[in-house]
Symmetry: C2
Subunit: 367 residues, 2 copies
């Protein structure tokens, strides 16, 4: 199971410094979890991830269920062993991908019928089935199967979705029998504060060792996401971990840490890297830009990543323009290192109780 | 410049154990040079290459001239610095790619006019221009600009090509003024022993610090390639390095080492890896094959590579089937390690004067 300790509270915001202990090790929070969709954080090895301090990664149940199949992974000793990742891991429930990667889904109270995005074959996932799959995968933290509310959504469909999410959360909890896996509940409720409150109350009443805020970063305006997070986070139990799903930019991580969120995940650092878009202090650069053609400097002069220590912008631009596989790895290494460094800076600011500077565009450090 | 020492001769074949010293370090021979076409051995970092003992890599002048351009590489300190490879390097002359990657080439005694395979733009490369480009790149060993003879080719066109190659070899030598770069001459002559002999005599008469056998592995039968190598290698000076260009399979490396060849290069280990085709003792396997779906073992049980030490065939198959970038790196690591191990075994057999076992399909070690 897991244990969560709040080590220190930020006096300038609702941020907290914590440590989350799982069967596979400890995680300093607030933390960012790189996304390992298909049993790999794209372009990186487990050694790479450990080299820049990743303590927990996320796996996608939907993808792994379809390919290579959760039973295969179970038979090979679980996802940790399959991908040779010895540290903590979280799997999502598959709910988000079932809806976002399929045009034709049929939702009943029982569960969701959908077509595989790989071959069109028909599948059914219920709360019980999601838990069964996640038990086969064996992550330290698993997620309740929910119906993410799209954006925009009117109040009545949002409430309907919330009710289903509560119903399914209860069934998820009832179907899990494990001494090692911790199940997190998910709060929905769209952009309606009253519904967020209602959802939080219902999910808390069921009772989980950790709580997630779902249904954000789905197309709404930035301020609405930040406001909804700031409203929802304090509704959750103070001494349980809070996970904001699918968020976000470095600015978002800082802003939402200040609202009391402990855990984040997002494909942004890895996906952006593959398109040549790189995070640097206070902004982004695209390495494919002609201005870097003969630039002998590293992406960031004081970055500790392997890429910045060894290669020039000119070389990286060349690799990216030539479509070389090595570009994917080197650029992903940089962005992923950036995100881990960023979270470490946020934790340091909380530890030293320095006010956050929330204007990302002008800052070099969060504190 | 370079220095070549023959340390030991194999009493069971014409193989020799040697050491080639260049401004960037030493190379144990017979050696295999991984191909770094676009300033990267595809999917690998310099650290990867050093991890399994690579002592020299090859760069492709044609590709680097077109993208990012040799003047850019010169301005950034040369190819070694550009790609952060601190060890010996060889560049080809561009001749082979000019002909193999272009359908429309115009050859005169002066040089070759061709269209870029990237954007169709028109370019001209002469022997002098090839040397100029290779000087900008700055490899330890550079190659004479030749006209590779296609296969099949009649005796008259082969002889014509041979004459042009000799003429161009002389101009290459005359245009090179360097204390650090060693220029190798190339023997052509197709599959005609008399023409191979003639070409060797002419190229030796011009005089180079090393000699290559070109125009093989271009579609001819295996035996013809082996026989032509076995015939040509002893025509070359005994105490100069001999380089067989673009060859080949592990079996070819063994066979041609036994004919007295010291250096090899080929895209096979890296290209095959990207297609899932992996070298194992005595043969090949394709990791995409369904038989590996739930195979918990490594590619090869006693292989020291990072991939075999950490991942199962089942996992690698999954990555390959899912088109994951990580598959490219992990499979390339294995094949490239295999080739370096294979050359080390060949060197050991020469050192210990053990007869080669030339039946690749039944063997576990060359000796």
């Amino acid at each position: 199971m897991i244990k969560f300790e709040v080590l220190k509270k930020h006096s300038h915001s609702s941020a907290r410094l914590g440590v989350l202990t799982t069967p596979h090790g400890k995680i300093d929070t607030p933390c960012f979890m790189p996304v390992g969709t298909q049993a790999t954080v794209k372009a990186l090895t487990p050694d790479d991830l450990e080299s820049f301090g990743v303590q927990i990664i996320l796996g996608n149940t939907y993808h792994l269920y379809l390919r290579p199949g959760h039973e295969l992974i179970r038979s090979l000793g679980g996802l940790h062993k399959f991908m040779n990742w010895p540290r903590p891991m979280l799997t999502d429930s598959g709910g988000y991908q079932v809806f976002s990667l399929n045009e034709l889904t049929k939702v009943t109270e029982e569960g969701v019928t959908f077509q595989s995005h790989l071959d069109g074959s028909s599948h059914f996932i219920s709360p019980e089935r999601s838990i069964e799959i996640q038990q086969a995968l064996g992550a330290d933290i698993i997620m309740a199967f929910d119906e993410p509310t799209p954006y925009p959504a009117d109040i009545s469909s949002t409430e309907k979705s919330l009710k289903l999410t509560t119903l399914w959360a209860r069934r998820c909890k009832e179907s899990l029998h494990s001494d090692t896996q911790a199940l997190f509940g998910i709060v929905q409720g769209g952009m309606y504060p009253d519904l967020r409150k209602k959802s939080a109350e219902q999910i808390i009443e069921i009772g989980f060792p950790g709580y997630a805020i779902g249904g954000l970063s789905v197309g709404e305006e930035k301020n609405l996401m930040h406001d909804t997070t700031a409203y929802t986070a304090p509704l959750l139990p103070e001494y349980k971990p809070r996970y904001l799903m699918g968020v976000g930019t470095p600015e978002d991580l800082l802003q939402c840490s200040s609202s009391g969120v402990d855990m984040f995940d997002c494909v942004m650092p890895t996906r952006n890297a593959r398109n040549g878009s790189l995070f640097v202090k206070g902004g982004k650069i695209n390495i494919r830009n002609a201005q870097y053609k003969s630039d002998p400097g590293p992406i960031e002069p004081d970055c500790p990543c392997y890429t910045c220590a060894n290669f020039s912008r000119a070389y990286l631009r060349h690799l990216a323009m030539a479509g070389e596989i090595l570009a994917m790895r080197l650029l992903t290494l940089h962005n992923s290192t950036f995100y881990q460094k960023w979270m470490a800076s946020i934790r340091k600011a909380i530890e030293e109780d320095i006010p956050f500077n929330l204007d990302w565009s002008n800052q070099t450090e969060p504190g």
